[in-house]
């Protein structure tokens, strides 16, 4: 199917992933791949299930049915259980029989990082602290050693690494500022910086350009392109700004009512009839 990507490592693979809340099928049998070094877009009208897909990958909730693979290894897998056994109305029923669920922190430790649709910085802490906290994921010494300052080497390394990151991302000037005191666009950058501090290989960006003016979103596009190269990332992003999506995504998936309706290059998507219908409605 993806001949051009056949050689590349499959960083993320969502296989027949469904998510059902009560009677609402938010995500139905989604198949999605992100290959190494790619920037993949996930678009769709409001309520199409994009953020749900993110939440499934990052372990906020386990999928109702289906599996997610990271680097070809199983990350989460689930099948309809309990009440869902009868309620489940999605596809691929009965294909999965194993339940493997990981909490978000475990998934972050496996080098998957994310940002949030509505910025979730640690508001009252400084920019530096925000980035420093994300380094905690690498902490090896236990709390007793850490409190008695017997891990100063590790602590120093964490601080240096946080500083280095701020330097790379041009955030040194605002280092001591409280996160919530900064302009919106910059907060988005800081959220990405914080996600990068967990040392991810796969980065999930949930509407990084939301609320940005054309100039800001232009800057953001360059920024995303740059960090992909500098940090060797694969990126999956949800975005509504078509200019951004078409500008930097190599492949795009389109969701509507939880179902995948199209996938392909930006050009293919732009001329896809189903996509146009989903966005503009059908002419009766």
């Amino acid at each position: 199917m993806h001949d051009n990507n056949g050689m590349k490592n499959n960083v993320l693979k969502m296989e027949n992933t469904s998510m059902q809340f009560g009677g609402v099928l938010a995500l139905n049998n989604l198949n999605l791949d992100v290959y190494e070094g790619e920037i993949v877009g996930l678009i769709g009208p409001n309520g199409a299930g994009k953020t749900t897909a993110f939440n499934v990958v990052t372990g906020v909730y386990p999928p109702t049915n289906g599996a997610v693979y990271l680097d070809r290894e199983i990350l989460v897998e689930n099948y309809p259980q309990g009440k869902m056994k009868e309620l489940y109305s999605g596809e691929s029923k009965g294909k999965y029989t194993v339940a493997k669920v990981l909490t978000p922190d475990r998934i972050t430790k496996l080098r998957v990082a994310r940002t949030f649709q509505n910025i979730r910085l640690f508001k009252d802490l400084t920019v530096y602290e925000n980035v420093l906290i994300a380094q905690h994921v690498k902490q090896k010494s236990n709390w007793l050693f850490a409190s008695l300052m017997m891990n100063h080497k590790e602590e120093k390394a964490m601080r240096e690494e946080a500083m280095r990151l701020l330097e790379i991302l041009d955030l040194v000037d605002v280092k001591e500022k409280t996160a919530s005191s900064l302009p919106y666009g910059q907060q988005r950058h800081i959220e990405i910086a914080r996600a990068l501090a967990t040392d991810p290989k796969l980065l999930l960006l949930d509407e990084p350009a939301a609320g940005m003016n054309p100039q800001e979103s232009d800057e953001l596009m360059h920024f995303i392109g740059r960090i992909r190269k500098d940090f060797g990332l694969s990126i999956l992003m949800i975005e509504h700004h078509m200019q951004v999506v078409m500008g930097i995504c190599e492949r795009i998936y389109v969701l509507d009512y939880g179902k995948l309706i199209a996938e392909g290059s930006p050009k293919e998507i732009q001329s896809n009839k189903k996509v146009i219908e989903a966005y503009l409605g059908v002419d009766d």
């Binding site: 990052t58 906020v60 909490t103 978000p104 922190d105 475990r106 972050t108 430790k109 990082a113 994310r114 949030f116 979730r120 910085l121 640690f122 508001k123 009252d124 802490l125 400084t126 602290e129 420093l132 906290i133 994300a134 380094q135 905690h136 994921v137 902490q139 709390w143 850490a146 409190s147 008695l148 300052m149 891990n151 602590e155 964490m158 001591e176 500022k177 409280t178 005191s181 914080r194 967990t198």
Partner: protein
């Protein structure tokens, strides 16, 4: 002219800190030897440092980790009773357990105060670990109610009939040896608070703060919520247990009614007044509240102008005044006295420097320059 925030150099700060420590030691020594103050003053200082330790332990959970726990009184009771049972001298035991004799298993068990204190802390920590598993899965108000319930359960168990051979039930324990010197509670509290400060400053402390700020984001940053909340909860319980043990030695007589919910509320008052998320604020407000309640006793006494007896001066007025003061403080310092800030020499220095500047501005009557005030982000 804008106000410029200046920092002191490092040597000055070190000298000031050493002076402060020396001052505290000298003050403690003088109080201890009776050079200044009375035994009443010593008692106030003692209770203040003990409440400071317990207050900081509560702030660790409530203010730094953002877990609204109200179980402190229960942990204190565990620590207090452990210390009480283990340190009452053998000779006084028949007098204490005069109704139901002490259990044979512990009747000859006497431990030095320090050891008993640590065992008390450990018992409290173990109890916290046990209740932590179900309780920490709850959120905000529900968690508060659950911890409150557990703390009442502890009190009920202590006063229970079956526990008489150990806890002496509702008669309580007495003849607990007190501190030979004021230095003992001061040093133990200082060490405990210093440990918690170091914990807060470590990477784990930063993780606690992250949980307080935003649980979802903290988890997405790889912080295991359950593990870190549990850690904070257990360490807090340990120091509450130690504080309870100190309280037992301070009071020399304890009974289960002293560990009612009121104690937790008093501690809550201390940490909210000092600032949720400020260690120095907690210590400060602990001294303020513990001494304030005593100093205001003047209002409880009858007073008269000439021969006219002023009718409002009667027992109970003290608490009215106390509440009014608290309300005033909370109105003007909405996030507590210190907010989330900590004491720093730079802060004091600039606070003092700002006064002449403020006065000058007042004289000039120029308020428009207010925005120019340059303050770094704290």
């Amino acid at each position: 002219m804008a106000f410029e925030y200046k920092r002191l150099n490092k040597t000055t700060k070190i000298i000031l800190t050493l002076l402060l420590i020396a001052g505290c030691i000298v003050l403690t020594y003088m109080l201890d030897k009776g050079i200044i103050g009375t035994s009443y003053t010593v008692r106030i200082v003692r209770i203040s440092v003990i409440y400071a330790l317990i207050g900081v332990s509560m702030n660790l959970v409530n203010g730094f980790t953002g877990v609204f726990s109200l179980g402190q009184a229960g942990f204190m009771a565990i620590g207090a009773y452990t210390v009480g049972v283990l340190t009452i001298p053998l000779a006084s035991r028949p007098n204490v357990y005069y109704l139901v004799p002490i259990s044979e298993k512990i009747q000859d068990l006497v431990m030095p105060f320090g050891v008993a204190l640590i065992i008390g802390g450990i018992f409290a920590a173990i109890f916290a670990a046990l209740i932590g598993t179900p309780v920490l899965r709850l959120k905000s108000d529900y968690l508060a109610i659950a911890t409150l319930g557990f703390s009442e359960i502890v009190r009920a168990i202590i006063a229970n009939n079956q526990m008489w051979p150990i806890t002496n039930g509702s008669l309580g324990l007495k003849s607990i040896p007190t501190f030979p010197s004021l230095f003992i509670p001061v040093i133990i509290s200082t060490v405990g608070i210093a440990f918690m400060v170091l914990l807060i400053k470590s990477s784990y402390g930063r993780a606690f703060k992250a949980i307080r700020e935003d649980e979802v984001a903290a988890e997405a940053m790889g912080i295991n919520l359950f593990k870190h909340k549990g850690l904070s909860f257990i360490i807090s319980a340990f120091f509450a247990g130690v504080g309870g043990g100190l309280l037992a030695a301070h009071l020399t007589a304890i009974d289960s009614n002293q560990f009612k919910i009121m104690v937790t509320y008093e501690l809550l008052l201390i940490i909210v007044l000092g600032g949720l998320g400020s260690v120095t604020g907690t210590v400060l407000s602990s001294f303020m509240i513990c001494s304030g309640k005593e100093l205001l006793r003047w209002f409880d006494l009858p007073h008269s102008i000439g021969t006219w007896k002023i009718p409002i001066f009667r027992p109970g007025l003290r608490m009215v005044i106390f509440s009014l003061l608290l309300m005033t403080v909370v109105l003007f310092w909405r996030r507590g006295l210190m907010g989330r800030k900590e004491f720093s020499w730079d802060g004091i220095y600039n606070f003092l420097r700002r006064w002449p500047w403020r006065v000058r501005r007042l004289i000039r009557g120029d308020y428009s320059k207010k925005q120019e005030e340059v303050t770094p982000n704290a």
